[in-house]
C-alpha cells in the first residue's frame, strides 16, 4: 500500500474497515462526524452493517449487541456523546465482550465547544462508568498512528475481551497526513466460544453482566483485575524522542506530545538536553518508561490539553523524586511549540520545583501573565 493523504477521522474509519469491522453504529457529533459519514458510505458498499443510531445511548448498546455475536464492531463519538455511553461501556466491560470505541475529544465540560482538547483522559482512562473495569486506551499522535492503533484496538479488544478506546483530539481527527493503510483483512468466520449466535447443535449461551450473588461478582471483579494485570504486563506502548542523553524529559500524549516534539527539537537546537516520552497506551500507563526517565533526568515537564489529568499518573510514578512542571492549554486550544519551548527553558534554568503541586505552580504562572 502506498502512502496516501488521509483525514484523521476518515483514516480511522477505513482502518477499521480493513481490520474487519463488521458493524458500525454511531451518532453525528463534531469533530468526529466525518468518521460516521465515511462509514455511512463504505459499510453498505461492502455489505456490512451501518446504523446511524438514535443517540449515543442507542449506538453503544447496538455495539454491545453486535459484540455479543463475536464480530468486530465499533462506534465513535466525541466528549458529550461519550458521556452518554458510560453505562453501556460499563456493561460491555462487565460482560467481557470486545468492542472498539473512538473518542475524538473536544472542549468541555458541558456543551463546551468543538475545538480539540484532551479533557476526557480521566473519563476514559480511569473509568467514567460505574464499577471497577479497565479499558485499554490507545492515544495516537498522527494519522498513521491512528490507523495502526485502530487495527491494534480490534486485536487487543478481542484478545482481552475488553473495551478498547482510541483516544484522540479534534485536531487529529480533522487534519490530513500521509498514511499507509493496512491490507484488507477478511471478515471473521470463526467465532469465540462465548458468542451468542443461536444455539445450533450446542448448549445455549448467555451473556450478561449480572452477578446477583456478591461472591460471584467478586470472582468476576478479580478475574477482570487479573486480566488487566496481563494487559499491563504485555501491552504497554510508548515512544521516546531524543531521550538517550536527555537531562530533562517532557511527557505528553496525542497532539500535546506531538506539539511537544517540535518544542523539544527547538530546545535541542538551543543546546538543551531534553527528550520526549509520549505514551501511546495511556492505559495501561507506561509506568516503567516514566520511571526510567525519572531515574535519568533532572526535571520533567508534563504537557496536556486539559487541567492536568495524565499529570497525576506521572506524579504517582515520580513519587516526588525529581521536580516536575506542568503546562497546559485548555478549552479547545492546542498549544504552540514556542509556549512549550519556554517551559523547557525554565527547566533548563533550574526553575523546576519540588514544592507543592505542579499544577498550582502553573496556575500561578498563568495568573502572573494575565
Amino acid at each position: 500500500m502506498a502512502r496516501e493523504l488521509w483525514k484523521g477521522n476518515e483514516a480511522i474509519a477505513e482502518a477499521a474497515v480493513r481490520a474487519g469491522c463488521q458493524a458500525y453504529f454511531g451518532y453525528p457529533i463534531t469533530p468526529q462526524t466525518e468518521l460516521l459519514e465515511y462509514m455511512s458510505r463504505r459499510m453498505p458498499e461492502l455489505g456490512r452493517a451501518f446504523v446511524q443510531a438514535e443517540s449515543e445511548l442507542g449506538a453503544v448498546n447496538m455495539v454491545y449487541g453486535a459484540a455479543c455475536t463475536g464480530v468486530r464492531v465499533m462506534s465513535s463519538s466525541s466528549s458529550p456523546g461519550v458521556s452518554l455511553m458510560m453505562e453501556g461501556i460499563s456493561y460491555i466491560a462487565g460482560t467481557e465482550v470486545p468492542a472498539v470505541l473512538v473518542d475524538v475529544m473536544r472542549g468541555g465540560p458541558g456543551l463546551g465547544n468543538i475545538a480539540p482538547a484532551q479533557a476526557d483522559y480521566n473519563q476514559i482512562v480511569h473509568g467514567g462508568g460505574h464499577g471497577d473495569y479497565y479499558p485499554i486506551v490507545l492515544a495516537p499522535a498522527s494519522v498513521q498512528e491512528a490507523v495502526d492503533l485502530t487495527v491494534l484496538a480490534f486485536d487487543l479488544a478481542e484478545k482481552y475481551r475488553s473495551v478498547t478506546v482510541v483516544l484522540l483530539d479534534g485536531s487529529l481527527g480533522q487534519m490530513m497526513e500521509p498514511a499507509e493503510m493496512p491490507p484488507m483483512q477478511p471478515l471473521k468466520k470463526e467465532f469465540p466460544a462465548w458468542a451468542t449466535r443461536g444455539a445450533e447443535n450446542r448448549e445455549r449461551r448467555m451473556l450478561s453482566s449480572i452477578y446477583l450473588n456478591p461472591p460471584d461478582q467478586e470472582v468476576t471483579n478479580l478475574r477482570l483485575l487479573r486480566r488487566w494485570k496481563e494487559v499491563e504486563a504485555n501491552e504497554v506502548r510508548f515512544k521516546t524522542y531524543y531521550l538517550e542523553d536527555a537531562e530533562y524529559v517532557v511527557m505528553g500524549f496525542g497532539s500535546a506530545g506531538r506539539v511537544a516534539l517540535s518544542a523539544v527539537r527547538a530546545a535541542r537546537a538551543e543546546g538543551i538536553k531534553v527528550g520526549l516520552l509520549r505514551p501511546i497506551t495511556v492505559s495501561p500507563f507506561p509506568v516503567q518508561a516514566v520511571d526510567a526517565a525519572v531515574r535519568q533526568c533532572k526535571a520533567g515537564l508534563v504537557v496536556e490539553m486539559n487541567a492536568g489529568q495524565m499529570l497525576e499518573d506521572v506524579l504517582r510514578v515520580n513519587n516526588n523524586r525529581i521536580p516536575f512542571e506542568f503546562f497546559a492549554r485548555m478549552g479547545g486550544i492546542v498549544p504552540f511549540p514556542d509556549e512549550i519551548l519556554a517551559e523547557i527553558r525554565r527547566l533548563a534554568q533550574g526553575k523546576a520545583s519540588l514544592e507543592g503541586h505542579p499544577r498550582d505552580r502553573w496556575l500561578e504562572r498563568v495568573a502572573a501573565q494575565a
Binding site: V51, A199, R205, M206, S208, I210
Partner: protein, 261 residues
C-alpha cells in the same frame, strides 16, 4: 387423588415446551411473566426455531429471562434492549431476534430506543409486559400505572395533575411507518392467553418474512406489588386495566394480514 387413564388410549395433550429450561423461575407465585415466557417458548417450539433465536433480556423482574429460555440470550441495560437487538440482528439477519421488556423498561427509560427500532422497521419482535408498575424494584409507579392507582411512589394514588397520564405504548408505536405489527393482548384468562399466543406467533412470522418491527403488548399481573392474590389480580387486570388498555390490533401491515397460522 390419582386419576388413571387407559394407557392404550392415553395421549399427551400438553407438555412443557423444549424452549424452556427445566427449572423453577424466580417469579412470584402466579406472576404472568411465566405465562408470557411459556407462550413464547411454545411458539418457538412450534416453529422449530429454537436454535436460530437470540433473546435480549431487559432489566426488570424478567432480567433473568435468559435463565429460563433454552436458547441464546444476552442481557441489555435498562431500556436499551431494542438497541441491543438491533446490534444483534444487523450482524445476524437470518436469526430471530426478540426482546422481552417490562413497562418500566420499554415505556419509561427505553422509550427512545423502542420508538426508533420501530421507526427503522428493525426486523425484530418486542414482547412487552405491561403490569402497571415496576415489579422488580418494589412496585413504583410506571408510565402505565392507572390514574389513581396506588404504588410505592404514588402513595396517594397516581395524580394525573402532577404525575401525568398513562402511556398507551401500542397506540404510540402504531403511528410509526416502520412498525408492521403492533397489538395488545392480555394474560388474564385462557381465551386471552390463547389470543396472546397467536399474536406472538404472528410476530415471529412477521420477522420470518422480513416485514420489520413487531410488538406484542401483554397485560400482566404483579400480585406481589399489587398486594393481591394471583386470582384477585387477574380480576383487577380485567376490570381496571382492560378498559384503559384496549385489546386491539393497532397496526397490521397488509402483508401480515395474509399470514395464516
Amino acid at each position: 387423588m390419582t386419576t388413571t387413564l387407559d394407557p392404550e388410549l392415553e395421549q399427551l395433550v400438553y407438555e412443557r415446551p423444549d424452549s424452556l429450561v427445566d427449572c423453577a423461575t424466580h417469579y412470584c407465585p402466579g406472576c404472568t411473566h411465566g405465562v408470557a415466557h411459556r407462550l413464547i417458548a411454545e411458539v418457538i417450539d412450534e416453529m422449530g426455531i429454537r436454535e436460530k433465536t437470540i433473546g435480549v433480556a431487559s432489566v426488570g423482574c424478567s432480567v433473568f429471562a435468559y435463565n429460563y429460555f433454552n436458547f441464546d440470550f444476552v442481557q441489555a441495560p435498562h431500556g436499551r434492549a431494542p438497541a441491543m437487538a438491533t446490534g444483534v440482528k444487523r450482524v445476524l439477519p437470518d436469526r430471530f431476534v426478540i426482546t422481552y421488556q417490562g413497562d418500566g423498561d420499554m415505556a419509561s427509560i427505553g422509550m427512545a430506543e423502542v420508538v426508533h427500532a420501530a421507526a427503522r422497521g428493525e426486523n425484530i419482535c418486542v414482547f412487552f409486559i405491561n403490569n402497571a408498575n415496576y415489579g422488580m424494584t418494589g412496585g413504583q409507579m410506571a408510565p402505565t400505572t392507572l390514574p389513581g392507582q396506588k404504588t410505592s411512589s404514588s402513595p396517594s394514588g397516581r395524580d394525573i395533575e402532577t404525575q401525568g397520564y398513562p402511556i398507551r405504548a401500542a397506540e404510540l408505536l402504531a403511528t410509526l411507518d416502520g412498525a408492521s405489527y403492533v397489538v395488545r393482548r392480555s394474560l388474564h384468562d385462557p381465551k386471552n392467553i390463547r389470543l396472546a399466543k397467536k399474536a406472538i406467533r404472528t410476530a415471529f412470522e412477521v420477522q420470518a418474512r422480513g416485514l420489520g418491527f413487531s410488538m406484542v403488548e401483554m397485560l400482566s399481573i404483579c400480585p406481589t406489588n399489587w398486594g393481591m392474590t394471583p386470582l384477585q389480580s387477574l380480576q383487577w387486570l380485567e376490570e381496571k386495566m382492560v378498559p384503559y388498555y384496549a385489546l386491539n390490533d393497532f397496526k397490521v401491515h397488509p402483508a401480515v394480514a395474509e399470514i395464516r397460522i
